[in-house]
Symmetry: C2
Subunit: 394 residues, 2 copies
Amino acid sequence: MIYLDSAATSWPKPAGVWQAMEHCIKSVGANPGRSGHQMAVQAGRLVDEARELLSLLFNITNPDRIIFTLNATESLNLAIKGLLKPGDHVVTSSMEHNSVTRPLHVLQEKGVEVTKVVCSGDGSIKVKDIESALRQNTAAIVITHASNVTGTLMPLAEIGQLAKRKGLRLIVDAAQTAGVFNLDVSFMNIHLLAFPGHKGLYGPTGTGGLYIAEGLELVTLKEGGTGSMSHIPGQPGVLPERYESGTLNSVGISGLAAGLKFVRDEGTGKIRQYEMSLTSRFLKGAEKIKGLRIYGPAELYERAPVVAFSLEGKNSGQVGTVLDQQYNIACRAGLHCAPDAHKTLGTFENKLVRFSFSYFNKEEEVDFAIHSLAEIAAIPPEKFNKKEDKSCGC
Amino acid sequence: MIYLDSAATSWPKPAGVWQAMEHCIKSVGANPGRSGHQMAVQAGRLVDEARELLSLLFNITNPDRIIFTLNATESLNLAIKGLLKPGDHVVTSSMEHNSVTRPLHVLQEKGVEVTKVVCSGDGSIKVKDIESALRQNTAAIVITHASNVTGTLMPLAEIGQLAKRKGLRLIVDAAQTAGVFNLDVSFMNIHLLAFPGHKGLYGPTGTGGLYIAEGLELVTLKEGGTGSMSHIPGQPGVLPERYESGTLNSVGISGLAAGLKFVRDEGTGKIRQYEMSLTSRFLKGAEKIKGLRIYGPAELYERAPVVAFSLEGKNSGQVGTVLDQQYNIACRAGLHCAPDAHKTLGTFENKLVRFSFSYFNKEEEVDFAIHSLAEIAAIPPEKFNKKEDKSCGC
C-alpha cells in the first residue's frame, strides 16, 4: 500500500517508536507521578524525557509548561476555552479545522465574539486583514500554522509580531507542521501551541500536547487526581499537574519521545526538505494531468507537504475510492473536518482529494500516484460517477 | 520486583495486549473514522471491536453508547459536568476520589449543590443515608463502586434501585472494579459508567471510557473533528462521535480489546475469586503483625482487592519507601488522590499504605509482603522515622 494520509496520522512510524512503547509496557508499566516506588519514578522519567525533547524542539524554557493530552483537539479545546471568557473577542481565519471552529462555536453561544478573517482562494491570509479585524475587546488570535486541506502556510512570525504589538494572546494549531517546520514559541510570540504527537512527531495515536506560556493560567477542562497536592479540594495551580488529571498515556508518550528523538536526529530541516521535494515532484507531475486542479498556493515555499486537488467532472469521494481499491493508494477525500476551508476554496459542495506526504514516502510512490491519477483522469465521467460514493471521509 | 500497585495501573499486562498494539501500530496505523481507505476502515474495526467487548462485559445494548477517553478521570468529568447544571443538587459519598470531588468542586462554584454523605469508619455507606440526603432538586447520585483506598464496596444495586425509584441519574466510578466485579448497567440502573482501560481491564495507559445511557445527551467537554458530519458548525448529536473529537488512541484501544478478551476468556468470576483469595491471604497474615492496622470492612465480601493499612508509630510514606527500596515491593503510600476518604477514615494526617492485587500476583508474593511488613513492624519507631519521607505519592 502507498500511504499518502500522513496529515491524518503518520504511518509508518520509526522502529524506535514501538520499541520504546514495548519497553514501557513491559518494563516500566507503573503509573507515572502517582506512587513513589522505583518503577513509578522511572515511568515519570519517561514522561519527563518527552517533555524535555519537546522543549528543545519548540524552544520552550520550562518543560513543565508542556501538558500532555489525548490529541491536538483536546489541546485546542483547553487553550481556547481555558483562555477566552464571555465579552472577549477573538480573531481566527476561514481556513480552520473543526477543532478550532467548533470550540469557538460553543463559546459564541456563551458570549464570546468571533471574527473569521476570510482567506484568499488559495487559503492564504493577509496580516493586515487580521489587524483590521481587531477590536478593543480582542483577547486573542487563533490560527492554524498550515491548512490541513491545502497545506497553505500562515505567516506565523508576522502574526506573532502583530499579537505582541497589540498585546494579544496567540493560539496556534500546529497539527500539520510540528516536527516539519520551525516552531519557536519565543521568537514567534506563541502563547498557546497545540500539537499532535502522532503526525509529524511520529509518536503513536493517543498523544498530543499544549504549550502554555509562562504567566498564563487557563480555566481547566478537566479536574481530578494529580498525584500531588491531593489534600486541596480544587485543582492545584502548579504545572503540569494542573492540566493533567488522571493517568497519563505513559506508553504512548514513551513512543512519542522516541519519535521526537527521530525528528531531532534527522533534523526538521532535512525532513522538511525531503517532504517538500516529494510535494514538488507531485505538483509538477500533477500539473500535466488534464482536468486535475490543484488548490492552495502556487509557490512551494508557501506550502506544507499537504496537497488538495479535484479531477474535473469526477466526484472526489469516488476518486478516493478508486485510488484505494484499484491502486492501493491511501488518501483522504471529503471535507477533511474543515468545512470553512472548503467554503473558502469554493469546494464545499464537490469536496477534494488530499494527498499528504511523510518522511517515509518514496519518490516512486509519488510517481505511481501521478500515474494513477492520470489514468483515472482519462476515464470518461459518465463511466466513473455512476457508483455510489462510500469512501468520503468527511 | 513485587508489584502491589494495580489500583494505580495494572502490571504486568497479558501478552496479547502488547501483541495487539504492535500489530496496530505496524499494520493498521491509519486514523480510525477519518479517511475511507482500507487501512483506516480496519483501524475503525479495531476500535469497534473494543466497543463490542465492553458492551458484552457491562451488558450494554448499543456499543455506540460507549465513548473512549484518555482515562476514567476524563470520563467522570464528561459525565458529571455534562449532566449537571446550575440549580441541580447531587449526592455523593465521603469516600470519593479527586476525579469525582474536584469536578464537583468546580460545579459548586457554578451553582450546583453538592451533598457528601458521610460514610462509616470502614468506608461503607448506608443507602438510607443517601435517601435522606435527597432533595426536590436532586438530579443525580455520583458514587464509586469501590473505594480506591480501602477497597470498600458500595451497595450499587441498591443505590441503583433507589435512583430508579426516585427518577435520578446514577453516575458510577468503576475505576477499581471494572473487569473484576459484575457491572450490569441495565440491572444496576446505571446511567453513566466511567471506567479506566488500564486497570482491571488490562489495557494500556491512555485508555478509558464512559457508557452513556440511551436518551441521555450530555454537554460536550470537547468539540472538534469527528470524521462525520463535518459540514455542521456545531458538534453532531450522533454517538460515539459527539463525544470523541480528534484522533482516538487506536493503538491503546487495540491493546484494550486484547485485555478485554483476556478478561472474557478467564472470566471475571475466576479473576475476582483469585484476587480476593490473595486479599484474604494478606488480611489473615497481616492481622498477626503487631501494630499493623487494617482499614476498611471486616468482611471479605464487602471488599475489592485493595487494602490500606498503617503501622503503629511509623510514617506511612516511610513504610512505602522501605518496602520499595529494601524489599523491592511496589505499592502506594499517601492520600491516594482521595483526601475525603482519608478524612472519613481519620487518616488524613498520617496517611496510609495501600496494597492492591491483580490476577498476576502470586501467593508467594503476598507471603513475602507479609513477612516484610512483620520485619518493618519490629523496627523501633525512633530508628525508623528519622529519615525524610520522600516516597509519599500523595
